[in-house]
Amino acid sequence: MRDGRVTALAAGAALVVASAFVRSDFVAMLFVWVAVNVLLTASFRFVTLIGELNFAIAGFVGLGAYAAGCATTMLDAPFVVSLAAGAAAAGLVSLAFGWVTLRSKGPYFLLISFAFTEVLRLVYTQTSAIGGNSGLVGIFPPAWLTGYYPATVLALVLAGLWVLHRLENSDFGRILVAIRNNDLIVQSVGLDVHRTKVLCLAVSSAFAGLGGALLAHANNVISPGDFGFLLAVFTLAYLKVGGEGHFAGSIVGATLLTLLAQYALGFGAFEHVFYGGAIVLVVLLMPEGIVGRWAAWRARRAGAAHARGPEA
């Protein structure tokens, strides 16, 4: 476990350094897209720890992107401040959203969270101050980051992953999984389930907001359509393919599908079929996802080695 973390950290650091030497704009953008999608998928997965599929994540990505976009374009806020604004806006709104909606669970919560995303999208299209249907333009990273924006995004995403991983393996994370298993028992041993669920959603949403802010500065343009429920469906696809049972599942799934999707772009309108197909295939053929399948294979091999005796 310890070794795994060191390896992961070293690989992450190597990627950050490597991204600083990338000369192709397209490859640089790929770095950013993969990194942001990994962060979004990890955030989405964080809420699955309490057993909920949070389609509001797309709404919170949008809130983060619009808050950061407004801060940068309208207030001339420093880059760091506008990122913080993105994370804070999403986190704070999710506190209120979660407080009201997390009394429900399962399909009910899923539908509410889906509606939230769509309502926000409609609100953006109707608000001319933030560009209405055509969106917000001119969201640039600061000049001093020229050439190093992918490295910055990667570093921030790695930091986010580190925080989420730490939280998952703390008391807090253990309580989240316990809530997914049986929330009544968790209440019966003196823990405030509702508050814990709201906090879980807020943490996830703050990172989703940060992801949105990073995305806005990478694409320079955001529009309401970027943050519809399809974004949540993509995130779900990343997680299902990677494997929701393991932290690394979000990383593997988001990376793989984001890279493959560059190829699917050529399919035109059939692009979305690609994601749908990916979900169907994975659910049918390996419901535990790539990382889950790999972990099972390793466990079996370890078991076989154990059975063969100490010399193996």
């Binding site: 019966s188 041993v189 003196g190 823990l191």
Partner: protein, 241 residues
């Protein structure tokens, strides 16, 4: 007479037009094993859910250990020392037995050493120490029952409320469980409130019994008194109408 640990007065709970529990009064005395019995639909489970804070009472008052707990949320009541189990041997299925017990200690202790000690102590008592790292959902039924009770007992609360803990256990397992309930009371001074359908077991282990019928108080007394009570016999055999 022993001090009253839980005082329930005028407890009423309605679901729409249905009155599940109506004007119920009873006391749980410190250090006793009190049985709460009644035919199906008598309101035992509702009483249990209201007392433990999982349902709000429509009317009435509950005082636990000197604190008014009426309408308080379940997790606060649990922290005050009134802990319940659930029917059907509920546990955290995907989690190891160790984590099942550990979760119960989180709001008790800050220190990991204390938590670990408490978990091991409880596991030994419930004969779960050999399966500590098994996912609880993989255990045989009898052991799952033990896990569900062990979760609650890990807290060493003042009052332990057991909701039909013997359902589905074979006679030898019932014997083991009853012995455990006695030890919980004798060795740890935990008062026990027991809802159970297994009459033989209830008569064997309880110091006193409270009988409900159709949401109302029907009788209370020692097992010997209850087994001779005409109203109780009539309620169970359905002759009262």
């Amino acid at each position: 007479m022993a001090e009253v640990l839980l005082e329930v007065r005028g407890l009423t709970r309605r679901f729409g037009g249905l009155t599940a529990v109506s004007g119920l009064d009873f006391d749980v005395r410190a250090g006793e094993i009190l049985g709460l019995i009644g035919p199906n639909g008598a309101g035992k489970s509702t009483t249990f859910n209201v007392v433990s804070g999982f349902l709000k009472p429509t009317a009435g008052r509950m005082v636990f250990d000197g604190t008014d707990i009426t309408g308080r949320p379940a997790h606060e009541i649990s922290r005050l020392g009134l802990v319940r189990t659930f029917q059907h041997g509920s546990m955290l299925r995907e989690m190891s037995v160790r984590d099942n017990l550990l979760v119960a200690t989180i709001s008790l202790f800050r220190g990991h050493a204390q938590r670990e000690r408490r978990v091991l102590e409880t596991a030994r008592m419930f004969a779960l120490d050999a399966v500590l790292d098994e996912p609880a959902g993989n255990l045989p039924h009898g052991l799952q029952r033990m896990v569900s009770i062990a979760i609650a007992f890990t807290r060493r609360s003042r009052l332990l409320c057991l909701d039909e803990p013997l359902t589905g256990l074979n006679p030898s397992e019932v014997g083991v469980a009853l012995e455990l309930f006695r030890r919980i009371r004798d060795e740890f001074g935990v008062t026990v409130l027991l809802v159970e359908h297994n009459m033989k077991a209830v008569m064997q282990i309880c110091d006193r019994i409270v009988v409900l019928d159709r949401g109302e108080f029907l009788a209370q007394g020692t097992p010997a008194e209850i087994s001779r009570n005409d109203a109780v016999i009539a309620a169970y055999l359905g002759r009262r109408r």
